[in-house]
C-alpha cells in the first residue's frame, strides 16, 4: 500500500535539532515496514539515515544531562533486554 508523500504532522524529538532527521528516518522506516518487511524482505534500507538520526539523539540525551541511567541505548540483543524492570 503506497501513501501520498504529504508532509504529515510529526512528533518532536528529545533533541530539537534532531526533528528533521527523525522525520526523514521515520518516513523511510514506515515505507519499508509496510511495503517490504511485512512481505518478508528483512533487509533494512534505512540504516544510514538511522545512524545519523541516532547519533543526534544520543548527543541530545548527553547534552541535556538527562538522568536516564536505565535508558542505556545499547539494550537490544543483550541480556538486559530480557530483564524485568528493577524493583525498589
Amino acid at each position: 500500500m503506497k501513501y501520498l508523500s504529504k508532509r504529515a504532522a510529526s512528533m518532536d524529538s528529545v533533541g530539537t535539532d534532531c526533528r528533521e532527521l527523525k522525520r526523514t528516518y521515520d518516513e523511510c522506516f514506515n515505507k519499508w515496514f509496510s511495503e517490504k518487511f511485512l512481505k518478508g524482505v528483512t533487509e533494512d534500507p534505512c540504516t544510514a539515515l538511522f545512524k545519523v538520526y541516532q547519533d543526534c539523539v544520543k548527543k541530545a540525551i548527553r547534552e541535556k544531562n538527562l538522568n536516564l541511567e536505565e535508558i542505556e541505548t545499547d539494550v537490544l540483543g543483550t541480556e538486559r533486554e530480557k530483564q524485568p524492570p528493577p524493583t525498589t
Binding site: F37, Q54, T73
Partner: protein, 191 residues
C-alpha cells in the same frame, strides 16, 4: 501493587493495525505524548524486528501529586518491542524511567492476529503499578489504574483514527491514479 488489564478487538487485519501502530503519534487523543525517538532498531537472526524507543510525556498528573513528589515537567519512558511477521504478533513492553524509585508502571501490550478471523486483530494490555515510599500509596495506585482505563480507551480511539487516516490516504491516491488514467488512456489509444 496494582494490576490492570484490558482486551480489545480491532476489525482490521494485523498488517494494517501494526502499520498504524508505528504511525500512532501524534494524534488528538493522546496529547500528553510529546516526543518519541528510536534509540535502537534491528532485525534479529530470526527475522523479527526489535526496537527500543524513548517516549517523552507530560503524564498529566494532578498538580497536588506533582507537588508532593517534586515532579519535573517532562517524564521519560523506555519501550522495547518485537514484531514477528511470521506469527503475526507485535509485543511491546514500556516502563517509566523518570521517578522509577517512587512509582513504577510496567506495561505489556500485544497485538496478534485474531485466532479465528484473519481480518481482525486482538489487542491485550496488562500493566502493574507500584507506588512506594509515599503516603496514600493505595489511593495513588488506584488513581493511576483509573487513568490507564481512560487512556486505553483513548489509545484505541487513536489507533482507529490513524487507521482511518491511512485508509483515506490510500483512497485519495487511487482516485488521483484513476484521474490520470482517464486522461492518458483515451490519447494512448489514438497513438
Amino acid at each position: 501493587m496494582r494490576i490492570w488489564n484490558s482486551e480489545h478487538t480491532f476489525n482490521h487485519s494485523w498488517d494494517t493495525v501494526v502499520t498504524a501502530a508505528w504511525r500512532k503519534y501524534p494524534n488528538p487523543h493522546n496529547p500528553s505524548v510529546l516526543g518519541l525517538d528510536v534509540l535502537d532498531r534491528r532485525v534479529d537472526s530470526e527475522g523479527k524486528l526489535k526496537s527500543h524507543r524513548l517516549l517523552s510525556t507530560s503524564w498529566g498528573f494532578p498538580s497536588w501529586v506533582r507537588k508532593m513528589i517534586g515532579m519535573q515537567d517532562m517524564c521519560y519512558a523506555s519501550e522495547l518491542s518485537t514484531v514477528d511477521p511470521e506469527n503475526k504478533t507485535f509485543t511491546l513492553r514500556t516502563r517509566n524511567v523518570t521517578l522509577s524509585n517512587i512509582v513504577t508502571v510496567d506495561e505489556h501490550v500485544t497485538y496478534c492476529q485474531h485466532p479465528t478471523d484473519p481480518n481482525k486483530t486482538l489487542l491485550k494490555q496488562e500493566a502493574t503499578v507500584t507506588v512506594s515510599g509515599l503516603p496514600l500509596c493505595n489511593k495513588l495506585e488506584q488513581m493511576m489504574t483509573d487513568a490507564m482505563t481512560n487512556n486505553a480507551s483513548k489509545g484505541r480511539q487513536a489507533m482507529e483514527f490513524v487507521i482511518d487516516k491511512l485508509t483515506k490516504e490510500a483512497r485519495e491516491l487511487s482516485a488521483e491514479a484513476q484521474k490520470c488514467m482517464d486522461t492518458v488512456l483515451p490519447h494512448a489509444n489514438t497513438l
